[in-house]
Amino acid sequence: MGGKSDIRLIDENGIRIDGRRRDEMRPVRIEAGVLKRADGSAYLEWGDNKVIAAVYGPREVHPKHLQETNRAIVQYYYAMAPFSVDDRKRPGPDRRSTEISKISAEALENVIFVEQFPRTTIDVYVTVLQASAGTRCAALTAASVAVADAGIPMRDLVAACAAGKVEDQVVLDLVKEEDNFGQADMPIAIVPKTGEIVLMQMDGHMTLDEIDEAMDMAIKACYDIYEIQKEALWKKYERLAEEEVV
């Protein structure tokens, strides 16, 4: 946020640098059940973002002192592959990924029936293979599908999308250049069935009216994401059914 640029990010016709309208999301494609070894998995492409998610659990907690006697814990590991960004990222968690992992775990905990699995852990690993802004929303969206793919009881999925502000206009789903040179970014995740907001961050500068507009835009997009998530799971179940028939 807040960098300077001579680039016009939105032209006189309201068209953004990658050809989208203000309230248009990048294309999103999700595939569920892509891995053999993981209990659940998903692969997601969101514009130029590429993300893979794997889920294990409920399984034993190590070390033991992390156990909760009355519920499962949710551990979320957001990581960027070293080759996912222009300047190679050193492997291992940094402060940014630690924070993203924390708030994403909290969001997922909301929809998982953790009380059903005391003393266990549900481990969610998401790796960004290619990054172009919005990776925390892409990761959480994929992770949610992977948890469902693992057959872990959930009351709903979590769907995520960001809105923000670029050249004094509220826009949906910022792309890399907009993220670098825009005025605000606000990732949101919701539980679609209830509309509850389970993840929300914002930095930059927005008036109250802009916040309202951005929230409306992002929440609407989350419902579109939700449809894509459900479709991915649907396709996976169809595939399984076919295999069983065969």
Binding site: S101, I103, M200, G204, T207, L208, M215, I219
Partner: protein, 270 residues
């Protein structure tokens, strides 16, 4: 087991009085605890402050040094914010490298300062591409009774306001100059307990909270930062109300900050 029952009863009780609009310590739901801000509490820092919100007690120090700018912003000073959740402040805090709680606290404070443009980083350039001022904000809670986010952020802002750029260290005879602060974002934290929203939650309330939202608002009423925490959800409407109340509480807290600064001889805008 018995302890769990007790704590469940306690939770039910607190929720029930909250439903009536009352809090254990007698505050209104949207009322902050009393706040006390001291400036220049440690002479070895370029700037420092101690903030007490109720029994929560945080010391923030600002250190400055000369360093190399990032290649992609060769004319900007560098900000680094760190929080140390030392066991001094609470029995469950642990020594060792910062964990996710400390990292979240530091990053949320950092963003509130950085993204609001509170500090003019371009004024911290010494030689473009070669030497700039590094600005370290170190947050050291010493007593934790809830709502570290607000205490850390107002402490960071106060420490910056009191900071002097140590030009005298670079050049004999040069004079230290106040670090210019040009925006005054204030973080206001709300917690959701059952169906009630309380502001400036104390430790008991944090233990019961389902969800948390921290909102950074500036003196013009604009939102500069937000961070939701915990696994509970907020409705669209709750978020809207929290943001609006944060604007009011932020103005009040900013006024207290300016009063304390004036009293301490720390420059204040206007």
């Amino acid at each position: 087991m018995r302890r769990e029952i007790v704590s469940r009863l306690r939770k039910e009780y607190i929720a029930s009085i909250l439903a009536k609009g009352e809090r254990m310590d007698g505050r209104r739901l949207d009322e902050s605890r009393s706040i006390n801000i001291q400036f220049n509490v440690t002479g070895s820092a370029e700037g420092s402050a101690r903030v007490q919100i109720g029994k929560t007690d945080v010391i923030v120090g600002v250190k400055m040094g000369v360093g190399t700018p990032y290649p992609d912003s060769p004319e900007s000073g560098v900000l680094s914010t760190n929080a140390e959740l030392s066991p001094i402040a609470a029995p469950n805090f642990e020594t060792g490298p910062p964990r996710e709680d400390a990292i979240e606290l530091a990053r949320v404070t950092d963003r509130a300062i950085r993204e609001s443009g509170a500090v003019d980083f371009d004024s911290l350039c010494i030689t473009p591409g070669e030497e700039v001022w590094m600005l370290f904000i170190d947050i050291q809670p010493v007593d934790y009774d809830g709502n570290l986010f607000d205490a850390a952020e107002i402490g960071a802002l106060a420490a910056l306001m009191s900071a002097k750029i140590p030009y005298s260290r670079m050049e004999e005879g040069a004079e230290d100059k106040p670090l210019p602060v040009r925006c005054f974002p204030v973080s206001i934290t709300a917690a959701k307990i059952g169906d009630s929203i309380v502001f400036d939650p104390n430790l008991d309330e944090e233990h019961l909270a389902d969800a948390r939202l921290t909102v950074g608002v500036d003196e013009n009423g604009a939102v500069r930062a937000m961070q939701k925490g915990l696994s509970g959800g907020f409705t669209r409407e709750e978020v809207g109300k929290i943001i609006r109340t944060a604007g009011v509480l932020g103005d009040e807290r900013r006024r207290l900050l300016f009063e304390a600064a004036e009293e301490a001889g720390v420059p204040v805008p206007r």
